[in-house]
Symmetry: C2
Subunit: 476 residues, 2 copies
């Protein structure tokens, strides 16, 4: 792996930290969930109504308890992931309510879409886990979605997956399911198997749904991404520095709560901060300012010695066109070269988080593969310098038929999975744009999908749990 790119000076990182601490001490953060307030009050923090004023020293002490890196466990141990350090983890988009189709139409997403994206992420060689909510299953009652989604995540793939962030009870259900899969709650407390996305409500709030989930996961030792999405100009100041300080204060507050509940809880410093387009009033996610928030966040997380989350294949484009390509490459590259560890939204996002697209998923998978190749850098061992073959070929010669070429090219050069490298005439025979080629590819992949084997006792136990809980929720 190549070195990490630092976009801020150490002094600038310190400045952001100082500004955030001042916000936490003097302005405070609102927690709309009494158990969370109780925890922080018991630790000596000043609580007024729902607002908590944090002592700087307390925040520093709590954040220092979070692990610098941790292992997230998959049912196939080969797919275990180390979150933090030198590692980068790619996964599908999260939370979009729509599917944008190749023909340009848009529709509500459903459970079949969710399962399809789990399958595609499972098959991808560039995505490391299957994510958590690659398509909102609008055709499943809200009360039981988390059961069906987690069941599908477990049965359709043996890569790591995410847990629900919809309150305490649903989080407990997902923890139960992970416990069934791995052999008990004690087992997963030692070896975390779930990671959940906890978002603040910017500016400076956390709601009860998120806090309930946070407490459940913290108590059971499961991992969390504590994330802030400042929309600079609307939910945050219209200055990059101010938005960053605000984001940082919110994330520190969330991490502080997790460590106050259960010291050592694995957490990830998360940023999706973005800007408000002042011409349209819209959220804009595919831009240099958001890319810079991501890059700066990687560095802030390193300052606090916790893993980082940010970026993705982010775009405001409505269809899979050139804009979708260039915005997604910028945002994923800005995350990757600066050392973001956990990249939610790597693949599939269109329309500023509003839609997932199968074609975009394939485009982003290619982008992810390109970036992984870039990050790998160069093998500088003596034979790779190729002195002998350069000498043999000499001025004006050719390397194509040399043994050294045959021995090395497949290791040195990544093979494209989607991009076209034909001659103009060769391409012209079909004349397909990238969107059409991507459509052909995901359909072929789904046709070839095979679910990895799962112990039938475990499968039955999971099914029984889902059926029991489903009956309870739908009766209640």
């Amino acid at each position: 792996m190549i070195p990490k790119f630092n976009v801020l000076t150490p002094d600038q990182v310190q400045q952001v930290n100082d500004q955030s601490m001042r916000i936490l001490e003097e302005i405070g953060v609102e927690f709309s969930y009494q158990p969370a307030l109780d925890v922080l009050q018991a630790k000596g923090q000043r609580v007024e109504g729902q607002r908590v004023y944090f002592q700087r020293k307390f925040v520093e002490e709590q954040v220092a308890k979070a692990p610098a890196e941790f292992t997230l466990h998959a049912r196939n141990p080969e797919n275990n992931l180390i979150v933090g350090g030198e590692n980068i983890i790619f996964m599908p988009g999260y939370g979009s309510p729509f599917i944008h189709e190749a023909d340009g139409t848009r529709r509500n997403s459903n459970m079949a879409d969710y399962e399809n994206f789990v399958k595609l992420a499972h098959m991808s060689t560039n995505l490391h886990m299957t994510g958590g909510n690659a398509a909102e299953p609008n055709d499943v009652p809200d009360l039981i979605r988390h059961l069906k989604m987690t069941y599908s995540s477990i049965t359709l793939s043996d890569k790591c997956f995410m847990g629900s962030a919809s309150g305490y009870d649903k989080a407990q259900d997902n923890i139960e399911m992970a416990a069934i899969l791995f052999g008990g709650k004690d087992v997963i407390k030692e070896k975390p198997a779930l990671i959940c996305l906890i978002n603040s409500v910017t500016p400076l709030k956390y709601d009860d749904r998120m806090l309930g989930a946070l407490m459940a996961y913290a108590q059971s030792g499961q991992a969390m991404v504590i994330a802030s999405l400042v929309m600079a100009g609307s939910t945050g100041p219209a200055t990059m520095a101010g938005a960053l300080a605000l984001q940082n204060a919110e994330v520190l507050a969330g991490i502080t709560l997790t460590q106050s509940i259960n010291p050592g809880t694995p957490v990830v410093y998360g940023s999706t901060s973005a800007i408000t387009d002042m011409q349209t009033g819209s959220l804009s996610i595919g831009n240099p300012e958001g890319s810079f928030f991501t890059s700066a966040s990687a560095q802030l997380a390193r300052f606090y010695r916790v893993p980082s989350r940010g970026g993705g294949g982010l775009t405001d484009a409505k269809i899979v066109d050139a804009q979708a390509g260039y915005e997604s490459m910028m945002t994923l590259m800005a995350a990757s070269v600066t050392g973001i560890n956990f990249v939610l939204h790597t693949a599939g996002i269109l329309q500023y988080f509003m839609a997932m697209s199968y074609e975009k998923f394939i485009v982003d998978d290619e982008i992810a593969g390109m970036i992984l190749r870039y990050l790998k850098g160069i093998d500088f061992s003596e034979d790779k310098f190729a002195y002998d073959v350069i000498k043999k070929v000499g001025p004006g010669g050719h390397f194509l038929t040399q043994k050294h070429t045959k021995q090395n090219h497949a290791k040195e050069f990544r093979r494209v999975q989607l991009s076209d490298r034909l001659s103009y005439d060769g391409w012209g025979k079909e004349g397909l744009d990238t969107n059409k080629r991507a459509e052909r590819k995901w359909k072929a992949m789904l046709a070839e999908f095979q679910a990895p084997a799962l112990d039938s006792n475990v499968g039955q136990a999971l099914q029984a749990f889902v059926e029991k809980k489903t009956a309870e929720y739908l009766k209640g």
Copy 2:
């Protein structure tokens, strides 16, 4: 400006340098031009036939004579460019024989296309100069193209431009024209006004056309990019390290020659090294391996204390689709964040250098603008941290109507020129993809173009020179 990203360790840079020096000493470089051989032989280098074996110490001494940065002069001094240091200079593509049209057809480029790209580059706020050969004017006899192109470069824009690289005589013509424009050869010898692209013929050769131009420009103190395009796997080894060592040897040989002719000649270390796609045998330019060559080259140039050239909006895509977007963003970003100073091919390139596209030019102009915003980083002054407005708004509040927001957003957030940020329904009213929006934009720009005023005496003198030379060439 944010810090520069170093992808190699200092030790790796040293390794590449050592390997290149060994190539120069033991394998040597062929120069197919007697005056160049005479120069190097007179300086004590061993010459056998056309092959020159360089002494390492001699190469080091000559390269050290090249300036770390220099000013390239424009007829409007506000458009003067500092080449090197912290600066990045964007300009159009160079040398493509075809135009790819918005309707998907392809045709030979002509003089009107050349002039159109000069106009568009002149109007762009993201491109710093108009380049040198943004479209090959196939409808003009080869003998006089350089005269007409340079005349148009001077009359249609007051930004910097490039000179011809087609042999000694044509270079002299361009030098004469620059001398007319700036008030004499002595003036431009002190204040270089031309920069020319000198390419090696990989592996390890320079031809007479390039060497003739090199000698003319070096003698008159004009600037040059000394560039190598190793096609790893065909004209170079199929290993990244080997290709880099080969490229570096070629560039060092060229720079050494320039400084042997005229110490202090402004030169730029250039790389367009790329890979051979082993599935198709084609040159591939829009990929992570080429991006890495660019990034590594920025660092090698810093090692030699000379400005660097590399990257661009490079793509193998045949049309302006998602692939064109993601490949171009990767290659331009890899150049920019690592500190490349001079980015030929920033805008317009399609089909691995074979075609220019007006629509792609507009796409790349947007990409360039995005990258310039990213490179600018964050203003960390106290007011930008926005503490007062964060305190005033408080948890759960809104920033949209705050005075601080109105005062800052336009300075902090770049306004898009091409990208769509409308709502889904807002976009759907026209439903145009990026290619179509780009087509509309360049047509509107050309309709609004106005040439910057030029002193009429200078204009007449240039016209007279072009007419006289044209008559000579076409008679001869």
